[in-house]
Amino acid sequence: MKPILKRISQEICEFEWEAAISDVLLQHQLSFKAKLQEDFSTEISELRMGFKTLAILLSKRVETSEIEAWLKAISSELSLKALPARIWQIPVCYSDETGRDLETLAKHKNIRPEELITIHSQTLYRLHFFGFLPGFMYLNGLPEALYASRKSIPDRSVPVGSIAIGGSQTGIYPSSSPGGWHLIGQTPLALFDPSQDNPVFASPGERIEFLPISKLEFDRLTRHPHKPKFR
């Protein structure tokens, strides 16, 4: 799986893979990213990932021909690293009160809210990258039964910690923000801590699991929050 190199400007290069979003593609992206960081450690100042893309910001001049040669050389020898095994458990209170679109979305899907909760919480989601908001995780793995087109008029304010569904994706709002996804629940845990050098808890390639909790437990954890835990 060899990506296509696109030289955008003197500072920006992008690699694009022509493949469907999957664990295998992510494995290629992450292994490729590690090799890039190793071989161009002094030239790259920043990397940004997408579902099928990886962009680099260069702090020093690097000729396109040099990157092309590198790409050619590593494509045959790139050793794939296994995706990390860690699974993070995020407690979620699925309810009308903590997820104002739960009932409407279930009705729209012709299922009971309980069924929606079961489908959503019995799936493991793969973290591909962070974007949109500081600490927002792009997760892959939402069951097709829960796909829901985004709201035509976005909400002015989505509460912090909201668990939401938009299109073929599900995610957690790490901060309060406007948003067009359907809100089905809320986590009491803080998922982004700007005071830390690493402000997020999970790394790309790790998985996320949503654990249903009661409103009582939600209130208790809101008062006494702990850091996200993994199994």
Binding site: R48, M49, G50, T53, F130, L133, P134, P199
Partner: protein, 286 residues
């Protein structure tokens, strides 16, 4: 030497006053925007004249009506927009170094040319540093925009500089440039020939929709670009929405986006664009 701290007090402010520096590099992997001064040219110029560190924090001013008070002596420097500035009621220049004494009042009035004024200070503003930058961004720093009553710290007891009678002239001509240098973006090749020729030849207009995240252009560009998977974007990326809107991403833009990225501006072009006002016109130069 222990440095004494002075405070700049915000007495009154319009929207869009914030502390900015070079911004955050290396934190996009956590979804954190780059931030930093929109017009890096003027930003660097004030720090250069003040002999500050290259990433010293400055005040970015985007609206008239700002009134501030300094509680102790320092040296400040202006660059960027040509603006009506008064120090203790006396008109002063909005370009170059200005000595400040304790309890001095400063008033920023009408913008005559350009749209952002930078106020640098000796050794830089000393507001909180989060993820290697003092640039304000909601959810990262505790403030996003300055409010009445805010106190912003700076160091006061530095050795007085040796003034010379000569003033370095601040040349703002570069900001009048109407050709904006761009590179084709990752999805440029997906545009049809007609769209590409239009973008290369037509004159675009800045709309009123402008903030630290993006500037929207007034013209619509009907297109049939396919939807795409979320991909990286940078300050200076130009997105084309399915509805035909053109969005030029600025320093506080998200690190990823879902709209086709048809163009990419250089850092210098971002600075030129940042100084433009609504209704002004420009062309892309390839």
């Amino acid at each position: 030497m222990i440095q004494a701290t002075g405070y700049l007090k915000i007495v009154k402010t319009g929207p869009g006053t914030s502390i900015q520096d070079e911004g955050r590099t290396g934190f996009a992997q956590y979804g954190v925007p780059h931030s930093g001064a929109l017009d890096s040219q003027s930003y660097r110029w004030v720090n250069h004249l003040l002999r500050n560190h290259i990433d010293a924090a400055v005040l970015e001013i985007c609206q008239p009506g700002l009134k501030i008070k300094f509680d102790s002596a320092t040296e400040i420097c202006f660059a960027g927009a040509k603006t009506a500035v008064k120090l203790n009621g006396q008109v002063i220049s909005s370009a170059g170094i200005q000595e400040i004494r304790a309890n001095d009042h400063l008033e920023i009035g009408a913008f005559q040319e350009g749209s952002i004024l930078y106020l640098g200070i000796k050794k830089g503003f000393q507001s909180e540093k989060i993820m290697n930058s003092r640039s304000w961004y909601m959810g990262v720093t505790s403030s996003d925009y300055a409010k009445k009553g805010d106190l912003i710290p700076y160091f006061t007891n530095h050795s007085p500089s040796c003034y010379t009678a000569s003033k370095v002239k601040w040349d703002f001509v570069w900001a009048q440039e109407r050709r904006i240098k761009v590179y084709p973006g990752p999805e440029w090749d997906l545009l049809n020939m007609e769209n590409r020729e239009l973008i290369e030849s037509m004159e675009f207009t800045f709309s009123e929709l402008k903030n630290r995240m993006a500037i929207q252009l007034a013209e619509l560009l009907p297109n049939s670009l396919p939807e795409m998977e979320t991909a990286p974007v940078f300050p200076g990326t130009v997105q084309l929405t399915s509805g035909g809107k053109l969005l030029v991403l600025m320093k506080d833009a998200q690190v990823t986006g879902g709209y086709p990225r048809i163009l990419q501006l250089s850092e210098e072009a971002i600075a030129i664009l940042a100084q433009k006002n609504p209704h002004q016109k420009f062309k892309f130069q390839f």
